[in-house]
């Protein structure tokens, strides 16, 4: 007992001796006005941009962030319960820039925009804190995008390949499968050495709960963090959420790892920023968005990068999502984000309602990184698929008016119909790159030209199953070796032919 007491006394003595009995100097101000999560504060003449402010409300401290620095007052967003903050309350500058917890402990968790857990799984012991706002890596530290991000979605991996470090926009109307693509891409990252961060901005919490359940079911939460700024959260949290998600990704980037970040969606993010800006009385511009709404997204998406080997070789791949109104891609925010990103996946309502899901429009979708982000085998078999798919649409529309078509056109139409069927894919059912190569190889080499359209799905599923049993080594070689030669072609051809022999409807 005596030893324990001595230990306690010693420890406390040691701790107290480390405490420096110094005067504390702080910069204070007073709340002049507070409304809808925005406060005007007098004083705080030395406050910094993005500095955390502590509002001393009667019911306790509430945190805020300085956003508008003016001569005699500052405008701040309140990050907590803004109804508790009253006019005249004291505000203390903390001399800390807004930062969020980062680290391995964040993986598998659902957190809010400030990095606080909201999944009821207890406190998070963060490895470090990273600033929410950070300047993107410069030219010297970067390298071009060469490694693919396999989304597991045939239409995307074949036509619009995404590379590690790329920014690829997913754009389309509401309820058309934008989030589904992002979630499928996350699910397909299992075993691909990739961390994932899904940032839900202004989403319904029930939708996010479904996503978490789906990811858990697929075992994807083992490498995923969800940052949730729901529809019921104040605009300030919605505004911060994507930057917080990016800061969490930067921790892994600094460790040389690859990260996939989904921002779902930036339209709501722009709306929240518009709300904040109008309340801060910043001058409104087009569609009442403030003048710096382009910078809002460009500074976020510029943080996506592929670093060169000297700087760790990590990458952040960004999949921002934009919701259009009635398919209008020429609206203000969509055109801004299209011009910032390295390509877009445009989802088309007509195709969606015709049952072509994912409803990727081959003509309007593009990846500026192109085949540089594809494995050699995929490059070989799917090189012309996007042009073929786009031409098929034109041709199909034209063919409606004429019945007398030449053989070449008829062949193209048949191939196009087959391709459209192959591109159809169920949700939460990503397909490995080797299997994608297999089916596209069969298509482009005319091995399945005689396949009835209503049998495509059945054929495909059977082929994958057959390949798992009889061609596992071959699939592995296609996916990992990065080579493409006559021998592989021969083996693939043989595999498809052997499988076809087992089918009665193709005899």
């Amino acid at each position: 007992m005596s030893e324990t007491k001595d230990y306690i006394v010693e420890q406390i003595r040691e701790r107290i001796s480390r405490f420096q009995n110094l005067a504390e100097t702080k910069s204070v101000g007073r709340v002049l006005k507070v409304s809808d999560g925005i406060a005007l504060v007098s004083g705080l003449s030395q406050a910094m941009m993005s500095e955390i402010l502590e509002f001393k409300a009667a019911s306790g401290s509430v945190m805020g962030v300085a956003l508008n620095l003016e001569e005699n007052q500052i405008g701040a967003i309140i990050l907590g319960d803004y109804t508790a903050v009253k006019e005249g309350d004291e505000v203390v500058a903390t001399q800390r820039i807004l930062e969020v917890p980062v680290g391995e402990a964040m993986v598998g968790r659902v957190v809010n925009a400030l990095g606080e857990p909201v999944d009821g799984k207890g406190q998070i012991k963060a490895a470090a804190f990273y600033p929410v706002e950070k300047i993107a890596p410069g030219v010297i530290t970067r390298q071009s995008v060469t490694q693919p991000v396999q989304t597991g979605i045939k239409a995307i991996d074949a036509m619009i390949p995404i590379g590690r470090g790329q920014r690829e926009l997913i754009i389309g109307d509401r309820q058309i499968g934008k989030t589904a693509i992002a979630i499928d891409a996350i699910i397909n990252q299992k075993g691909q050495n990739m961390k994932c961060i899904y940032v839900a901005i202004g989403q319904k919490e029930s939708k996010v709960a479904n996503i978490v359940a789906r990811l858990e079911e697929a075992g994807a939460m083992e490498y995923t963090t969800i940052v949730l700024a729901g529809a019921s959260h104040p605009a300030a949290l919605l505004y911060i959420a994507p930057y917080a998600g990016c800061a969490m990704a930067e921790y892994f980037l600094d460790k040389g790892e690859d990260v996939l970040v989904v921002y779902d969606d930036l339209s709501k993010h722009a709306n929240s920023y518009r709300e904040i800006s109008l309340l801060l009385r910043r001058p409104p511009g087009r569609e009442a968005y403030p003048g710096d709404v382009f910078y809002l997204h460009s500074r976020l998406l510029e943080r996506a990068c592929k670093l060169n080997a000297e700087h760790g070789g990590g990458s952040i791949t960004a999949l921002p999502i934009i919701e259009t109104q009635s398919g209008d891609v020429s609206a203000y925010i969509p055109t801004n984000v299209i011009s910032i990103t390295d390509g877009q996946i445009y989802l088309e309502p007509d195709a969606f309602y015709q049952g072509n899901r994912p409803a990727v429009n081959a003509g309007l979708s593009v990846s500026r990184v192109g085949s540089a982000a594809q494995i050699k085998a995929m490059k070989k078999v799917a090189g012309k698929l996007r042009i073929d798919a786009a031409q098929f649409r034109e041709l199909a529309a034209f063919a409606q008016f004429g019945s007398d078509l030449d053989d070449e056109t008829k062949k193209k139409l048949e191939r196009g119909r087959l391709l459209t069927e192959i591109f159809k894919q169920d949700q939460y059912n990503p397909i490995s790159v080797a299997k994608q190569v297999l089916i596209f190889f069969a298509l482009t080499n005319g091995l399945i030209d005689n396949l009835p359209l209503d049998k495509v799905k059945e054929f495909e599923a059977g082929l994958y199953e057959y390949a798992d049993i009889s061609g596992a080594k071959l699939l592995d070689k296609v996916a990992t070796s990065g080579e493409w030669n006559e021998e592989i072609e021969k083996e693939l051809r043989a595999l498809v032919s052997d499988y076809k022999k087992t089918l009665q409807y193709l005899q």
């Binding site: 107290i16 504390e24 100097t25 910069s27 101000g29 004083g43 705080l44 003449s45 005699n72």
Partner: protein, 134 residues
């Protein structure tokens, strides 16, 4: 029309008076009040008065400081604090407003401009509590 702030009014009237002879002051102040009335800004007078005080202090290099202590301070102690506030604020004169607050237990709290200098025992104990709990 752009709104004129209380600071801008105060700066304008002070500059105008300083550039003129005292005999012209009544005329200037009449005009100033007429402008306030015309702009519908008579209600801003209290803010303008405060802004005038701040500008005048700035011009005369005066720092107004509030001081809370658990007991009245000696001249020596006050002199030390004055030197510190002068160094921090860059002003050449400090005007004190002193208050006694037994809750501080000891030490002082000084407030000038938007800075608060907490050297009280009470504050130190609170900081020690936070330090130990972290």
């Amino acid at each position: 029309m752009t709104k004129t702030s209380a600071q801008q009014y105060a700066q304008a009237v002070l500059d105008e008076c300083l550039d003129s002879l005292p005999k012209d002051y009544p005329k200037i102040l009449d005009s100033f009040c007429a402008v306030l009335e015309k702009n519908g800004d008579l209600s801003k007078w209290h803010e303008i008065e405060k802004a005038l005080l701040v500008l005048d202090d700035e011009r005369n290099s005066v720092s107004r400081a509030e001081l809370w202590s658990s007991r009245p301070l000696s001249d020596n102690e006050l002199e030390g604090l004055t030197a510190q506030v002068m160094a921090d604020s860059g002003r050449q004169q400090v005007v004190w407003k002193q208050r006694i607050d037994k809750k501080l237990l000891g030490g002082v709290i000084v407030k000038y401009g938007d800075r608060v200098l907490d050297m009280s025992y009470d504050g130190n104990l609170r900081r020690l509590k936070t330090f130990l709990s972290n």
